[in-house]
Amino acid sequence: MSDTTLTLRNRKIKGEAALAYALLAPAVLLMLIFMVYPIFYVFVISLFKTNKLAKIQSFDGFKIYAELLSSKDTWIVIGRSMLWTVLGVTTKTIFGLIIALSLNVKYVGRKISRLLFIVPWASSIPISVMLWQWVVHSEFGLLNHTLRLIGVMNPPVWLGQAGTAFLSCMWVDIWLGIPFMALVFLAAMQAVPQTLYEAAEIDGASRSQKFKYVTLPGIAAILLVATLLSSLWTFNDFNTVYILTKGGPAGSTNILITYVYMNSFEWLKWQKASALSIFTFLILSTVSVLYARIYFKREEM
């Protein structure tokens, strides 16, 4: 009796698992063919000499990796990517916090402000980047016009020189990333129980104390998730650099992600680009695993 119910139950569980695998099959196949296999394949390509058409020629072993690791250019680009990511995420976080705090104050028109702050994120990102190209135009752009009006006689040709081009790209990437940060922080702040603020007020806490002892601990968890996510997006921002400068002038604005692309589709050095893809993959996986673990913990709570 109990035996039959057990086998019945077993069969039901088995049937359920079979159905689950059948339903998952298309998604898993799609990911295996167009994500997992390509990562493996790009590794294979990196082990072979390639011609300009990306055709594999002769086996080369790990030579390209040794070459890349001893090349100064690689380290400059990786270093620039790190600088880009750290400065970008820090600035996005600071702006995000300031905007979230200001949206957390009740006043008439707050909802409209909130909507307006989202616009840069909500617009088509490649096209927003093209808008900036016009804004920073050295002669006709309204940015330099404003600078001239406030007394800067010779405003820079923003995208024409190494330093200012990098700054311009960084600012556009930051500008694109601020809305997400602001929205997440605002949502987290609004989830902090009002009673905590009231209690702090009764204890005579000042505004900055309330921020330090109530708001910050209240949003700490989300701050971590959001900065991790933002690090990945910032590191991955292909559109901004490619559209604004294509990594130029003279490679001075290339970050790893655009460097991979330039090496492949522009300069046709497919083997080198493939090896650089593997570097990128390794960096991204490390951070994503970290993010996924934290996300999982929160989901389970």
Partner: protein, 281 residues
């Protein structure tokens, strides 16, 4: 005491409003520039020193850009790519999302974890091999190549979102339907999907926006100009020397508008979906 507190609130509020306005100015500046520039004539936009506002505001740029650029074709191509991405993605993600939310099977955690991680990868990591694969299966220079690539990069996140929506539906409703004689798939189609419809709409809009905004895959896989979506089409014109910015900005405005509206419909769900359980919609 009460009065000083009220005053303090008033002072804070005016400070906050001033700060907000300054920040909004910074965040909206490019859109302000777009709005004023697309109303300028060609002479006005290339005047030195630049004008802030158009002297003779005109909507002529919209008809000009419609006639001189193949803008209608770009719109059509963006629409094909975005809708194609939605179709492929929904077809693949809905069953998968249901499975991870509702069914018990070995390896579930691993699959969810894997989806979460792949969601973070950059298209650039795989674009070289995808390019070679796409050539091999004769899909180079087709919409389908771009659609597949976009579906690959939206599927993990959408499965996660759907997992959340499907899990939120009480199990009792599904059980009741099954007692009434529905099969599992029948219950999914007739009971679960209608209840999860608002969530499904969110993921559909998200996927549409992703497809509409695609740049890198169109850049890599499309070779003939008449297949370019808006992003690529406009980019191609930005690259030209004698570019008419006032017309381009009018086109940019038209390209941004649809996704802007759609985005506002889903932003709250997107934020909570991205940030995990800590932020509620």
């Amino acid at each position: 005491m009460d009065l000083t507190k009220k005053n303090r609130i008033r002072i804070t509020n005016s400070f906050v409003i001033l700060l907000t306005m300054a920040l909004l100015l910074l965040m909206l500046f490019p859109f302000f520039v777009m709005l004023v520039s697309m109303l300028k004539t060609s002479k006005e936009i290339y005047h030195i020193p630049p004008y802030w506002l158009p002297k003779h505001p005109t909507l002529k740029n919209f008809s000009l850009v419609w006639n001189t650029f193949p803008l209608a074709a770009f719109f059509r191509n963006s629409l094909i790519i975005a809708l194609g991405t939605v179709a492929l993605n929904t077809f693949i993600s809905v069953p998968a999302g249901y499975a991870v939310a509702r069914l018990h099977f070995p390896g579930k955690k691993f699959i969810l974890f894997a989806f979460l991680i792949t969601q973070m990868f950059s298209p650039v990591v795989v674009v070289i091999s995808l390019f070679k694969i796409i050539i091999k299966i004769h899909l180079i220079d087709t919409y389908l190549s771009v659609i597949i690539a976009n579906a690959v990069f939206t599927t993990p996140f959408v499965i996660w979102m759907l997992n959340g929506y499907f899990s939120g539906i009480p199990k009792g409703i599904e059980d009741a339907a099954r007692i009434d004689g529905c099969s599992r798939v029948g219950a999914l189609l007739r009971v679960i999907l209608p209840i999860a419809a608002p969530g499904l709409v969110t993921t559909i809009i998200y996927t549409f926006i992703y497809g509409w905004n695609d740049f890198i895959f169109s850049l890599s896989f499309l070779q003939t100009g008449n297949k370019y979506p808006l992003t690529m089409g406009l980019y191609q014109f930005v690259g030209r020397f004698a570019i008419q910015w006032e017309q381009l900005l009018a086109a940019a405005f038209l390209a941004i508008l649809p996704v802007l509206i759609l985005f506002f419909l889903v932003e709250k769900q997107l934020v909570s979906g991205l940030a995990g359980g800590a932020v509620k919609e």
